[in-house]
Amino acid sequence: MSMSSSPGEDLLAIEEAANNFLSQEYDFRRRNIYLQGTGNVERSLWRRFADLGWLGLSLPEDYGGAGGSAVESWMLLQRLGAYLVLEPYLSSVVVCGWPLVTHGRKQVRDRLLPELIAGRIQLSLALNEPEGKHPNIITTLATPMDGGWRLVGHKSVVLGAPTADYLLLSARCDAQRIVLLIRPDDAGVMIRPYRLIDGRTAGEILFDGARVGPDSLLAVGPEADELLDVARLAGAFGCVAESVGVMKAALAATVEHVRARRQFGQALSGFQAIRHRIAAMHIACEEADALGWRAAQAYSLADPKERLAAIAAAKSDVGQSARRVCEEAVQFHGAIAITDEFPVGHYLKRAVVNERLFGNSELWTEHFSKAVFGWP
């Protein structure tokens, strides 16, 4: 198949539309108001995301989506990052929606995806556990009982959990992995909600003998493994896309600042040491954008190893470099960027969170080495 090196006009149109909407409805002042909310009042915005076609952008037309591929989401997610959008788009649409296109019980998918695309529900993947860093280790136990399951365990730092209508829960059942679809208000499910440092919601989920019925089964065994793999890759890719948007926004703010701000009789942009470091920030943005774009395109490749390699390469690079670019942005802005009133520090927060979610740079460098060189 033929691949392009940069987004074409159709994709740029998505970017422009997103900018138009977000600059109106999600400027930094409005965002601060949303941030004061409980995390659940913005369903009106969520429904507008649906109206804008964002929720179904890369989901199949059969379910009411636009049938796009990952490159369309690549454009949108960058904007959601750049505007520091708090809604659980990543956790709901990308991490849960994308795997449901191809994996899981068909009845469940056919029911959930149209609801998701229409903006009527939000989803969250309950995967991480407190014990280990490695997401493959699952200790939450699903014991078969009365045709359904009894759940005991603890899921930690679950992105989007507090507002989710459904949770995709990974658990161990006998020697296999299993993915169940449960509701936060199922008996025996307790969520401790909080915000992350970047303002997005997350929570601890405790299962103390919760009981769920037989219809909650989503996938089991190899099917569950694959679903979780797809979800993790989607999560990594989504973090990359958001963070590339974040770092570009941080760079743009910094360029504007150093041109305007004067010190010792000249604009900051006149100091060569600063100029060279801003050149380095720009290069980091270009490299990150190139890797993210390649990862987005890799979603259309038949070769799953190349897809893994492309996403791993991007997550490995962008995690760190987005944070470093944002640290530089803070440094060049000076003390103003240490205040919570000013957007630049929030770019750094978002970059920090995205660097760590779904595996950090070191982990994905290992994934890359394994996929490409066969190194253990």
Partner: protein
Amino acid sequence: MSDVPVADELGGFRAEVQRFLVSALPPELAARTKAGHTLSRDELMFWHRTLHGRGWVAPGWPTEHGGAGWSILQRHIYDEEAARAGAPSIIPMALTIVGPLLIAHGTDAQRTKYLPRILDGSEIWCQAWSEPEAGSDLASLRCHAERIGDEYVVNGTKIWTTFAQWADRCMLLARTATGDRQQFGITILLIDMKDPGVSIRPLPSLDGMHVLNQVYFDNVRVLVSDRVGPEDEGWGLLKSTVGHERILNADVGRARALLDRLIRTVQANPGAQPGLRSRVARAAIRLRSLEVLVMRALDSPDPANASGASIIKLLGTELQQEASWLMSEALGLYGLPYLPDVMQNGWQNEIPIGPDDAATVTPFYLFWRKASISAGTSEIMRNLIAQQVLGR
């Protein structure tokens, strides 16, 4: 981690500091400091008064003014031991800047009026220097004081004023004249924060805490008797006083306390990745070199102007920033939740989310990006170092 070698004769002093800390520092307070909790005003002032009781609250002041009269090396030793023990850092502005300035350049009346209340903690001070358009280039400040009779009338605004919300008094840099040299025409005034026309806008930091403020002066009247030194000559007075602070600002004691905490975090987390461990080791190695550089600066005849002072400020802050990041990374996902109540009060009756002291770590990392910005940005430090090496 081993101690930096220190000449014997100060061993006795170190032991005295240790004994004091053991007896005077409540274990709960030490634990809160070590866990990085945001301390309350009461807690900070409790420790201020405790130090005052021991005669140590103003370590660098001469004894005749109520100070401890310590050498910079003794101050360094105290800082090391205090950080190790988990003693809080008290609110510093009055003790490191205002006091020394008044002692060197104030009038007897000013010293009599202000110093005792600084020492006993009955008045908290802030320093109003930076302005929205004058940060690193401090001399370009514009907040203006006009002499009318035996008063100055101050108009303008100051920013990044630490603890202005608690301050009773303020040391202000105001412009009283403009000329070819920006450094000329700056005057130091002492202001009562309760005076009419003084108002404060809180500036919450990235960690959500309230430390920084913007202060507005709207026709605030200051008696000429509250001017320190001659009119227009404040810049020179200040430069001659700030000296030492750059070395102590590196705060090797705090860096080591941070690193010790980092190492405990990594130990407690057997899943920590090899790359992270290797970076932790690198940070520990850099701390060792910083310790030697600090000792060299302290051993030099004029520590304040020792060529190493800028390097120490730069490395010390970089190292603290690196350690705070590594600690956040070592916590993995548990470095991400934002729990402001827990940052201040610790876990009360709930089961902690993640390791006990996790909540303070990433907010500290965020707030502490400030370290390479305040008290001379890293860029200014590099300019100074380059000047020492290359001239011009």
